[in-house]
Symmetry: C2
Subunit: 368 residues, 2 copies
């Protein structure tokens, strides 16, 4: 039974059945496409949820920090890519990790390649990060000469295996339609395959393409143009993915139960549940800023989100929500709202672990 | 000595001298105005920093949650106002706290007053929360009849002392100028005094006015129109306060050291330091969104912020900054940037404790 009665503070709810269904769906798609599934564990940050992937034969994972790699290495994962540029200041920990697990590292400059050549003692995998349009880290994908320079620098390290190119099409989070996401995938992957073609002629014959992001992995049916996929958010999805068309609302598997502490007028509701619980990640919801959609607790989970109801502003601990007066009438002071998050990864990072709908606690790695 | 060499991950830096100077300045202003100083501890969330107030005779504090009240009660504070509407779901903990300390509670409805009447066993202080324009929780200040209804309901609890009205002028964070903040204070306080006048005639003779928010407490010279002040952010300030004119940049006492992990072109810098370290709180900086200003480490602290340099986007662990090419040239990969936060309260909540400029660690209450 869902333990709503015992909830007194903002609490991260996990619908385990939905989460497991999301995992199953992505496993099947990777299998059907014939690509390696290296799920990104930065979304759930939980050893226990990680175990839900093992029955499917998943052995390789992605993380976003060195400390997250340490955490999952401690929990038995032996093939871990840190999908974040090598942080020189953590080179000692990286070296130690490389001696414990098969470690994948991201490189986007000759200088970082040389740092690895100098400091790494154990074998490791290197991925050249390409910028395919997000303009975060990475070598611009059209700059094949720079890719070659980094590949050559990496080849000077006896223990490093240059695996290929790693891309994260984060800019497709802002695509205008599912079709635009699909077209973006096709266009970028064609370009990446061209880069691969040019490198193959020069001795890098096993050059792979590693592909990230939940929108494309959810919306594109055939992912066989790449060698591995690294989606993360799909385990829970959220309003951002819903708005993109990458999921249905009934796939959203994580939400935050928030006590109602004030009803200052007929349509405003004040929750215990603010920026330190929901994060300040916002989206445009029909011309209005939204920090979350609002649903109600119900047997076995939570209701569909209430039409138009959303969190309109957040301060540190307070949330201010707008609800249709007839909906707000049904919510007495002291009741709970269930807020569907804009960005589930950030909410998970903010809250101390999950409560499942049958009342089980599931820990995350926490702050370290 | 500032321990920059030992920093490998995003790290919350605290300039203790600036923080103590900020505290001293606010203490002096409260003394000069003849108002009670009840600092809000939600910004620093630290027992150790709390101790820095005691030499000034500060005995009363403000917190934003029941768990924060518990934490500071454990650390010897005996007069604590929870400046957040009573959360019925925590009434048992509230009752226990009320038996341990002089507890101030916020009430903005007859229903909540009746809940206290029914469940509270130990004496406590009640403050009627008034909405003075932020439109968060609180009774609209012009609705004196509603204030009277709540006051009457509270008077039915033998142990409850109705202390007065509590206001937080959070909307003045968006004021257009320091003068607009000052005028807002004068206008609102005049209205609050009118409310007080009407209640005094009806038997509530000791009706006090408790006033929050750092902008007014920083910008208004004479605060004697109210009875107590509850600023919090002033201990560290941040870019939001700087933009408002409530502080100088050299008053900002908290910042985040972030390793530089990629320099993909001549003006972009990628930091280990993203949304889970800096929060997604943003401000408009000359027409551009900013998630933080960028300074450089230097002997004894950090440099003034670099002209134009700011964090332009954040993902979970990555920050993307823009710097003038001549500044970026001075920052090799592996160096640190110092990011001045948009909203220091949220950054403190995200990071596990402080590192002072002389290398001391200071704990916060952490997630609970």
């Amino acid at each position: 039974m869902i333990p709503y009665d015992s909830i007194s503070q903002p609490t991260l709810l996990l619908d385990e059945a939905r989460c497991r269904a999301n995992i199953t769906r992505m496993v099947r798609k990777a299998q059907a496409s014939g690509v390696r599934f290296r799920p990104h564990f930065k979304t759930h940050q939980s050893a226990e949820i990680g175990e839900w992937f093992r029955p499917f034969g998943v052995q390789a994972i992605t993380v976003s920090s060195v400390s997250m790699a340490q955490y999952f290495a401690q929990h038995g994962w032996r093939d871990i890519t840190i999908a974040f540029p090598v942080n020189w200041r953590q080179i000692d920990v990286i070296r130690e990790l490389a001696s414990q697990v098969r470690l994948g590292l991201l490189v986007d400059s000759v200088e970082t390649a040389e740092t690895l050549v100098e400091h790494l003692r154990a074998p490791a995998d290197a991925w050249i990060e390409l910028d395919v349009g997000q303009h975060r880290s990475g070598i611009p994908q059209e700059d094949v000469a720079a890719v070659q320079r980094v590949a050559r620098a990496l080849s000077r390290a006896p223990g490093l295996t240059m695996r290929g190119a790693l891309a994260h099409a984060g800019h497709l989070y802002h695509a205008s339609s599912p079709q635009a996401v699909r077209e973006g995938f096709t266009r970028i992957v064609n370009q990446l395959q061209e880069v691969r073609g040019q490198l193959r002629g020069q001795g890098w014959d096993d050059f792979e393409i590693s592909w990230g992001d939940t929108p494309t992995c959810s919306l594109v049916d055939d992912l066989s143009g790449v060698d591995e996929i690294r989606p993360g958010n799909f385990v829970f999805f959220d309003l951002e993915q819903l708005q993109l068309g990458a999921c249905r609302e009934e796939d959203i598997a994580a939400a935050v139960a928030c006590p109602v502490v004030s009803k200052p007028d007929g349509s405003r509701v004040i929750t215990y549940g603010g920026a330190i619980h929901l994060s300040k990640e916002a989206l445009d919801s029909g011309g209005e800023v939204s920090y979350g959609a609002i649903a109600l607790p119900q047997d076995g989970g939570w209701s569909p989100s209430l039409p138009g109801a959303h969190m309109v502003s957040l301060s540190q601990e307070h949330g201010v929500g707008w609800m249709h007066p007839s909906d707000l009438d049904r919510v007495p002071l002291g009741d709970l709202l269930v807020v569907l998050p804009v960005h589930s990864c950030l909410v998970v990072d903010l809250l101390p672990g999950y409560t499942t709908l049958d009342g089980k606690s599931i820990a995350t790695m926490g702050k370290r």
